[in-house]
């Protein structure tokens, strides 16, 4: 049934055109945040870019220039291999965090009675120093420590099983470290979920796995994407886990950059690697933005 469009008195027309749709806040309220962002994020980024283009001088110094040498050096297969290895770590870590984190988030969102408590258990370790958490894994994975001893005694693992200082230990540490970042967004998405939709799907003939695939998963997808991004990006720059749990034996992009700013004293090269790494991460974010926009259509 059509309703006649309301007619506004002439003198208010300007106001409507300018800010129609909601309360108008003065733009300058954003200035502090923008200023902070510009000063502590954009400016350093620009500086990093400038250093990436500079030239090395003497032992330690460098001079600003328009030098693309470092980017050419980076093209070496050695660095390509390190990049790929880092990419593998980031992808594996993200997928593993998803495999561990999704069921956990699902359980808390759908079945748990004490949601807050469980969520706290997931989040609180995050408040502890990253360093201490990673170090505690050194202790847990120590062959002399009760955990592995008990497993060996039961017979689940072989007597000479040692995972410390291997890539496996790094992967364990990485999944553990970033798990909360995956669990929370996924939980948020599942928490909003209308579970009667799953009942409807079952009613219409879907066994639970199929209902999960066709209903739950698509609707949880925004959370999955957000969580994946939150895990993938820091993982690309991962530094500590390989050093502590991996016995510093393997070098990832983060370690490579650290090396340049440390003993190699080659800041320009370090900045170059950082710039390329940031470019890769930006691509990931753009991909996410694209996917997330498509998700908007699903609403719900």
């Amino acid at each position: 049934m059509a309703v006649a469009a309301p007619r506004f008195p002439a003198r208010r027309r300007g106001a409507i055109r300018a800010g129609a749709g909601g309360p108008r806040y003065p733009g300058w309220l954003a200035l502090p945040a923008l200023g902070y962002y510009g000063l502590f994020f954009l400016a350093p980024l620009a500086l990093m870019g400038a250093v990436a283009l500079s030239e090395r001088v003497g032992h330690v110094d460098f001079v600003y220039a328009l030098n693309f040498e470092n980017f050419k050096v980076l093209w070496d297969p050695l660095y390509g291999e390190i990049f790929l290895r880092t990419l593998r770590l980031a992808l594996f870590g993200t997928v593993a965090a998803l495999f561990v984190g999704f069921p956990l988030a699902y359980y808390i969102a759908r079945y748990a009675k004490r949601k807050t408590l469980l969520l706290m258990l997931v989040v609180v370790p995050f408040w502890t120093s990253f360093l201490i958490r990673t170090y505690s894994w050194l202790i847990i994975l120590d062959p002399d420590f009760p955990v592995l001893r008990a497993l060996k005694w039961i017979g689940v693992i072989a007597d000479d099983f040692s995972v410390l200082y291997t890539p496996t230990a790094v992967y364990i540490g990485v999944v553990y470290t970033y798990l909360p970042l995956m669990v929370l967004p996924v939980y948020a998405a599942l928490e909003r979920m209308d579970w009667s939709l799953v009942e409807a799907a079952e009613d219409l003939g879907d066994p639970p796995p199929r209902a999960f695939r066709r209903i739950t998963l698509p609707l949880a997808m925004p959370g999955v994407l957000a969580g994946s991004l939150l895990v993938f990006i820091p993982l690309m720059g991962e530094y500590l886990n390989p050093v502590i749990l991996g016995g510093d034996k393997t070098i990832y992009a983060g370690n490579l950059i650290g090396l340049q700013f440390g003993s190699s004293r080659n800041w320009p090269f370090g900045a170059t690697i950082a710039v390329v790494l940031i470019a890769v991460m930006t691509l990931a974010v753009l991909a996410y933005a694209r996917l997330a926009r498509r998700e908007e259509q699903y609403g719900g």
């Binding site: 009613d203 219409l204 879907d206 209903i215 609403g299 719900g300």
Partner: protein, 334 residues
């Protein structure tokens, strides 16, 4: 006569609270049966037990003659229309309706055709490309209905499907639902707390209270001959009149009201408190001599009826016929 659904001694409790208490029920093939009662009476739980979303603690459930006790919902030949519609927000109307057809192995074209047929049944074909959030409540309900109907189940279960709609839309859909059910011929089991709705749409009504079915019969039977005080009270309007040491339940329209002077002795005496014209009827609130308030209703007969001349303060006598009254004992129950 074929039985679509049979319940034998079905019991279900949650956390120690009994929701469905030893219920027996036979639903006839092709009938429109309502489960009617106040909230908490167990009607929704009964429906969910038939659908398979809950497992009974005791008793058996038969659908189409088959014992479905161990079967999960996706293996039962029933479909549900949910109170919240439960439309899949990430799919458009056509895909929603065709959702359950996917695993039947039909090709896309065939699925879409069937979905459209169902949409035609609910008169929504032109909206097939829309997403659920772009539809009104009534439209969403019709899509939910089409989605269930397209599966051609043995029984269609409807859980208070019209609860969230405006009066106008509700009335319209009540009629449509009835029409569709008659056309398609599927057995409908319909849950509602709105007694008017149940009476309008159903072939039979099962009135439930505290987990039990207290009366099962046609709308007319339920209305004219309630077997318990609860049913009498719940359905329509009823006066509970204390008389001769007992209580009698009489509907307002079954009471005859006459001027005291003209009435036979033996009627219930009282005084008119208010008169009200309500559409085609006229209502009187009468304060009886033994202190009760009784509601009387009569159809107006065009201005020259006896009743219509009554005014406030007039002395009147109320009578009723035997079969119009339900005699209840001291406690108020039959």
């Amino acid at each position: 006569m074929e039985l679509s659904v049979g319940l034998r001694g079905v019991t279900k409790a949650f956390d120690g609270v009994v929701a469905v208490d030893d219920v027996d029920l036979d639903v006839r093939d092709g009938e429109f049966l309502s489960l009617l009662g106040p909230s908490g009476c167990g009607k929704t739980t009964t429906l969910r037990l038939i659908a398979g979303f809950e497992r009974p603690d005791a008793g058996e459930i038969f659908i189409g003659g088959e014992d479905v006790a161990g079967l999960p919902p996706y293996k039962r030949d029933v479909n549900t229309v949910f109170q919240s519609y439960a439309l899949f927000p990430h799919l458009n109307v056509l895909d929603n309706v065709g959702y359950g057809l996917k695993q039947r192995g039909l090709r896309k074209g065939a699925r879409e055709k069937r979905a459209r047929d169902a949409l035609e049944l609910v008169r929504l074909v032109q909206l097939e490309a829309r997403k659920p959030k772009q539809l009104s409540g009534g439209q969403q309900q019709r899509v939910a209905l089409a989605r269930a109907l397209v599966m051609e189940p043995k029984v269609l279960l409807l859980d208070e499907p019209l609860g969230a709609l405006d009066l106008q839309v509700r009335k319209q859909l009540q009629i449509e639902l009835k029409r569709i059910q008659e056309r398609v011929g599927i057995t409908f089991v319909y849950v509602t707390h709105d007694q008017e709705e149940a009476l309008v749409m159903s072939d039979r009504v099962a009135v439930m209270q505290e987990g039990k079915i207290v009366q099962l019969g046609s709308p007319r039977e339920i209305y004219d001959r309630p077997t318990t005080r609860f049913v009498a009270d719940f359905i329509g309007e009823t006066n509970f009149i204390r008389r001769n040491g007992g209580v009698v339940a009489v509907r307002p329209e079954r009471l005859r009201i006459l001027r005291a002077a003209q009435a036979d002795p033996g009627g219930l005496g009282g005084e008119v408190v208010t008169t009200m014209v309500v559409g085609p009827a006229i209502q009187f609130l009468v304060k009886t001599d033994n202190g009760q308030e009784v509601l009387v209703r009569q159809q107006r007969s065009g201005g020259d009826g006896e009743a219509e001349s009554l005014r406030e303060g007039d002395r009147v006598a109320l009578t009723w016929s035997e079969d119009a009254a339900l005699v209840l004992d001291e406690g108020g129950d039959r």
